[in-house]
């Protein structure tokens, strides 16, 4: 057997490796550093890793070579299994930024009176003496940091994956730590555990579909490599029913991850049950990573098969938006509402994804679908992580108070925090002068350019519905007259960590709303996916 020695482009993938190394180091720290010093070491280590990776990503971004046709920059490395191109680097960048935000939320200890939002001892049964002991002794799971780093590693690998196998592995690397993180809430542990169980079972189920899709597509193309699959699709070499079924199953797996209808069922439960810092991190990170992967898969591997998946995406996008928007209206819990709104956002993002066109069909300087989706992901991430950070602040005697009833009149009691939250909501609703508006504009534009006007119309209608439920929250916070009955939540003063996250979120949302130019240019500069 002839054996070609593999080569690995360490210079281009080192941020990825840094994340992995930091995760592993985190585990070692967990093993060898005394308990009382772990928190500090872990947070510093994780932060240092994220910053290092971010710096690396920026450096690499500056050095990517422009490929032959000028559409794409970057290279395919590690024996064809990773593609380090413009979109990858862009996605890495925003994933790392949001992970930093997530990390700050993870590290917040002031809200719970000196402990983190995670269970003191996950193994202790809820409501038992052991649990009380764990909490009086101030135990906490610092394992969440390595877990998070592993998840970030998976998130970075996911959009970079250039073959189906890497894609699958990345999918799992990103999912598995999140399953665990979801079940680690300090308060409402039953809820949290249940969320973890649901997330896990449904996630495993969908990855089963995904994997079978991988197998079928492999059966069709005889290769896992995107380029080879594309070649096979173009030449129509194999059994095309294998391809279609496989494509559908792959889509199921990815659409599950992004939370698109009809595979969105986990989203509200998990968003609600998971510890809020995790929710924020997950809502931003997973979606970014999964959309990156989705686009690369569909554009690069199945680009020639566009006519068979675009209609499917049309239907799914419309369905997702409708489901997300309509169900969000009837929610009475802030986290669930945000979850459904994130489903609706998935629909909007899909609207951008399906707006792909050949380079020749675009005029000079026109917004491309990649650019639009990348930008939308950026705005979405800032708004989501900021909004969930605000949710962590609003508390009553039982911890976080996420039910609507508790939020009544919050705007009068804490106008600043309520105002910031309202601002995030307005951004999500897509009101001009916020980032969300520009993002929406971009994805709708590309969809309309690609002729998907029914989807755009549906999206507009859903936006109207969406505005309603966002505004309802603002009404609830600011304009509900009369004294609320029952206990109401108040805003706990956070430490600098959460405060910084919220402020950065607000600032970014505002700046991206008023001056989106630089980021849009950056996204345009990222170019197309390398093939």
């Amino acid at each position: 057997m002839d054996f070609v020695k593999p080569s690995i482009e360490y210079a281009e993938i080192w941020p990825l490796l840094v994340m992995f190394a930091v995760a592993c180091l985190g585990v070692v720290v967990e093993a060898f550093v005394p308990r009382e010093r772990r928190y500090l070491v872990q947070t510093l280590l994780a932060a240092a890793g994220l910053v290092a990776a971010l710096v690396g990503t920026i450096l690499i971004a500056g050095e990517l070579e422009v490929l032959g046709d000028g559409q794409a920059r970057g290279l395919i490395g590690v024996e064809g299994s990773l593609a380090i191109d413009g979109p990858t680097v862009f996605l890495w960048g925003i994933i790392l930024v949001f992970s930093l935000g997530g990390l700050l939320l993870f590290a917040e200890r002031r809200l719970e009176g000196g402990v983190s939002a995670f269970a003191g001892q996950a193994a202790a049964l809820p409501g038992t003496e052991a649990e009380r002991q764990a909490s009086t002794r101030g135990l906490e799971h610092t394992e969440v940091y390595p877990l998070m780093m592993f998840a970030v590693f998976g998130m970075m690998m996911f959009p970079a994956a250039n073959d189906l196998l890497t894609l699958f592995v990345a999918l799992e690397v990103l999912s598995l730590p999140l399953y665990l993180l979801c079940g680690l809430a300090r308060r409402r542990r039953l809820l949290s555990q249940e969320a973890a169980l649901k997330y896990f079972l449904l996630g495993a189920f969908s990855s089963g579909f995904f994997l079978y899709g991988v197998a079928l597509v492999y059966g069709f193309a005889g290769s896992m490599d995107y380029a080879d699959i594309n070649e096979a699709v173009r030449n129509d070499v194999g059994n095309s029913s294998l391809l279609l079924i496989g494509l559908g199953m792959l889509a199921v797996g990815l659409l599950f991850k992004v939370g698109a209808a009809p595979f969105h069922n986990w989203t509200p439960d998990v968003y609600q049950g998971a510890p809020t810092p995790v929710t924020g991190f997950m809502a931003a990170g997973t979606k970014i990573a999964a959309f990156g992967a989705l686009m690369r898969l569909f554009y690069v591997a199945f680009g020639s098969e566009r006519w068979s998946w675009q209609p499917m995406l049309w239907v799914i996008a419309i369905l997702t938006m409708v489901v997300g928007a309509v169900l969000a209206v009837v929610q009475t819990d802030m986290k669930r509402m945000l979850a459904y709104s994130s489903v609706a956002h998935t629909g909007f993002l899909l609207t951008g994804v399906l707006g792909v066109q050949q380079a020749s069909e675009l005029s000079d300087g026109q917004v491309t679908s990649t650019q639009a989706v990348l930008f939308y992901l950026t705005t979405y991430g800032f708004a989501m992580i900021g909004a969930f950070a605000v949710v962590t602040l609003v508390r009553d005697s039982g911890g976080e108070a996420s039910s609507f009833a508790r939020w009544r009149g919050l705007g009068r009691r804490s106008p600043l925090v309520a105002g910031l939250f309202a601002f995030f909501l307005l951004s999500m609703a897509g009101i001009p002068l916020t980032a969300g508006f520009v993002g929406k504009w971009a994805v709708f534009t590309v969809a309309l350019s690609a002729g998907a006007w029914p989807v755009v119309i549906a999206a507009i209608l859903c936006s109207i519905i969406a505005v309603f439920f966002y505004v309802r929250v603002i009404v609830l916070m600011f304009f509900v007259e009369g004294e609320p009955e029952g206990e109401v939540a108040s805003v706990t003063r956070p430490s600098i960590l959460t405060g910084a996250t919220i402020l950065v979120g607000v600032a970014a949302t505002l700046v991206l709303g008023i001056l989106p130019g630089p980021v849009l240019t950056l996204a345009a500069h990222a170019g197309e996916f390398v093939r």
Partner: protein, 119 residues
């Protein structure tokens, strides 16, 4: 496929023997009913009632099982690597050292946190 046919033959022979033994033991031996004999053996005392579903195991066993899975998987990767090592040479060495080190990280964690302690 011919490589596996003999295995099947041997398995069939063994299975025939084993099943035959089980069946035979039901017929050959004597059968004298005795209520106490059909109870679970607990050194002569009344057997403790068993919860439905076969009772619960200590969590330790799960941990062992999980650890086993981790290492078994590691072995799965080590075998092909070992067989092809001559072709992989130094590259293979480096990659595998990284791989083993990674597993070792988890291993050290489990060890330090008391996952390998048995009472």
């Amino acid at each position: 496929m011919e490589l596996y046919t003999p295995v099947l033959v041997l398995a069939l022979i063994a299975a025939a023997f084993a099943v035959g033994s089980v069946v035979m033991s039901a017929f050959v031996g004597p059968s004298r009913y005795n209520r106490a004999r059909l109870d679970s053996y607990e050194c002569g005392i009344e057997p403790t009632p068993q919860p439905v579903g076969g009772g619960r195991f200590p969590v330790k066993y799960y941990i062992t099982a999980m650890l086993f899975i981790v290492f078994d998987i590691e072995i799965i990767f080590l075998y092909p690597w070992a067989v092809q090592f001559d072709a992989l040479k130094f590259f293979g060495l480096v990659e595998m050292v990284i791989f083993i080190a990674t597993v070792f990280v988890a291993y050290a964690y489990v060890w330090r946190r008391g996952g390998l302690e048995w009472d």
